[in-house]
Amino acid sequence: MPLLLLISIILYAILSQAPGGPLTPYLQNPHITEADIARLKHNLGLDQPVYIQYLHWLSHVVRGDFGYSTSNSMSVMDAISDRMPATLELMGSAMIVSLLIGVSMGIYSALRPYSFVDYAVTTFAFFGQSMPVFWFALMLQLIFAVHGFEGFGYRFALPSAGIADSDSFDLGDRIRHLVLPTVVLSLLYVAQWSRFMRSSMLEVVKTDYIRTASAKGLSRRAIVFKHAFKNALIPLVTVIALSMPILVGGAVVTESIFAWPGMGRLFINALQQFDFALLMGYLMLTSLLVVFFNLVADVAYAWLDPRVKYS
């Protein structure tokens, strides 16, 4: 809690450094006169010192009111809840795909360390972690959306922008729009999580209880899935908890490139028009989630692994 208060103070201090502060959007409007600005300033309490403004903002926030978003002409909370479903859809699918692929790749390469597959997985992970996300997105658009694949008598192409073609709900259409952004987002997670899973699994396989299990004559399958897998997952839970904030915060870069109507684009639009209340709300919300999921990660770790004790 004190941490969040500190974050909000620092963010407010940074954002109010912008010339014009919350009134920047009005300053760019030629129909608004100096007198209007002065009146607006007075009405909004902007002629008062910054710390008074901050306390005013804070008193509203604790009541769940993040103010009015000038770039969306609605309240910040409405703007955010408007965009949240699209981001959850994209991020949810990216997380599920990454989990399935990352975990299985990690386990597979840990069970055959220093084999060809292991080297392939490691190399892939290095590429994934080094890939500039925006360029990867552009290249996928170039390959799948601009040109498309021709083969087997079909022309195979994927949409490169938006969340759907029509207003009415069409599952196939929605999934086609999801594919490219999901692949882009998954690459980094698959890379990170597979390496993490591999080292965690290698660690577990070395332990005494796995040796005991194999000494009892249990099959390899039983050992891997009943004994090793569960314990190797524990550290991964922490890592996944730490990436949860992005689930809600959205991906600024990927969403802008694929014109995905989610939180990341909401933020970029707000930034281009300097929408003070929305920027503040977005940054506070995402910081809150980071702090919260850090806590969740700690608690989950202690709960799953009884050897860890927090005083």
Binding site: Q17, F127, S130, L138
Partner: protein, 308 residues
């Protein structure tokens, strides 16, 4: 861990010999990593290209080839442009070379700044402990809790607006990224200093009446360098990605100065007719970052075998 500590009572090699021997070992372990030396070679070549860009460039990076350019990017190989031109008829290879200069310089200077801040804050926090530690660690918590990319975007937008320029210089970019990237270094350094300050030689240095600053920087810091070198190497890769992302979104290095990121920003509109304009800058980023990541991995194996 314990097994690698020398046993008490065993004859110790002279400090100088030990240093030489350990340096040989580090070099041996580094070479054993198959790809890290390749990464190092790639990076040295890139650095040479960036440094001597003036001399080896095929053209001025901002020169518009009006003799051949007809409003559309020229394809690779046309009119002597090895990699073609961008949408303004400027030689792509030349812009890539000068872009390397900007991207690498920004990344290296940023990391130097970040390491300086992180090392000092981490060392002070770890050495003194108590409320100094508490305050500094809350500060790192704050910086780590705000999502990095949105915060960077907000800061660059505000700095650009207050300095009344549409263009942000490379120096502002360095300062903004550097002032936000140090917590990782600070945390590593703090953890090391927490244990280093309890060592006998630290106590001996204190007993001899050395001032704290001398103990921190002369006696303890040299023993806390290896993990920082690894972290700094990997951070150079991070900063290259961050800077190019900012530049791509239009908040970083501003045209006409070429950076790998802003070259891609301009490429998107012509991607259907001129894919090469989009392909090459990104390929440069990928190769550079990949080389750095492999180098960092090799350095980790070489400098600190226990860290794996």
């Amino acid at each position: 861990m314990a097994a690698t500590l020398p046993l008490q009572g065993q004859p110790q090699p002279a400090p100088e010999a030990e240093f030489k021997e350990s340096r040989n070992k580090v070099w041996k372990r580094f070479r054993k990593h198959r790809i890290a030396p390749v990464g190092a070679v790639v990076l040295i070549l890139l650095a040479l290209v960036a440094i001597f860009a003036n001399f080896i460039t095929p053209a001025d990076p901002n020169f518009i080839d009006q003799a051949h350019w007809n409003g559309e990017p020229l394809a690779p190989g046309v009119a002597g442009h090895l990699l073609g031109t961008d949408e303004d008829g400027r030689d792509l290879l030349a812009r890539l070379m000068f872009g390397a200069r900007i991207s690498l310089t920004v990344a290296i200077v940023t990391v130097i700044l970040e390491v300086a801040i992180g090392t000092v804050l981490g060392a002070v926090a770890g050495y003194y402990g108590g409320w100094v530690d508490f305050v500094l660690m809350r500060l790192t918590d704050v910086v780590l809790s705000i999502p990095l990319l949105p915060l960077l975007l907000v800061l660059t937008a505000i700095v650009a607006a207050t300095s009344n320029k549409a263009a942000l210089g490379p120096i502002s970019i360095v300062l903004i990224i550097g002032l936000l990237q140090w917590p990782a270094v600070a945390r590593i350094e703090r953890a090391l200093f927490l244990s280093l300050r309890e060592r006998e030689y630290a106590e001996a240095a204190r007993a001899l009446g050395n001032p704290d600053s001398r103990i921190i920087f002369r006696h303890l810091l040299p023993n806390a360098v290896a993990p920082i070198i690894v972290q700094a190497t990997l951070d150079i890769a991070n900063v290259i990605i961050l800077e190019s992302t900012l530049s791509f979104l239009g908040f970083g290095i501003q045209p006409p100065t070429a950076s790998w990121g802003n070259m891609l920003a301009n490429a998107t509109s012509n991607m259907t007719i001129a894919p090469w304009v989009a392909i090459f800058p990104g390929l440069c980023i990928l190769i550079t970052v990949l080389a750095i990541n492999y180098l960092g991995d090799g350095l980790r194996d070489a400098l600190d075998p226990n860290m794996r």
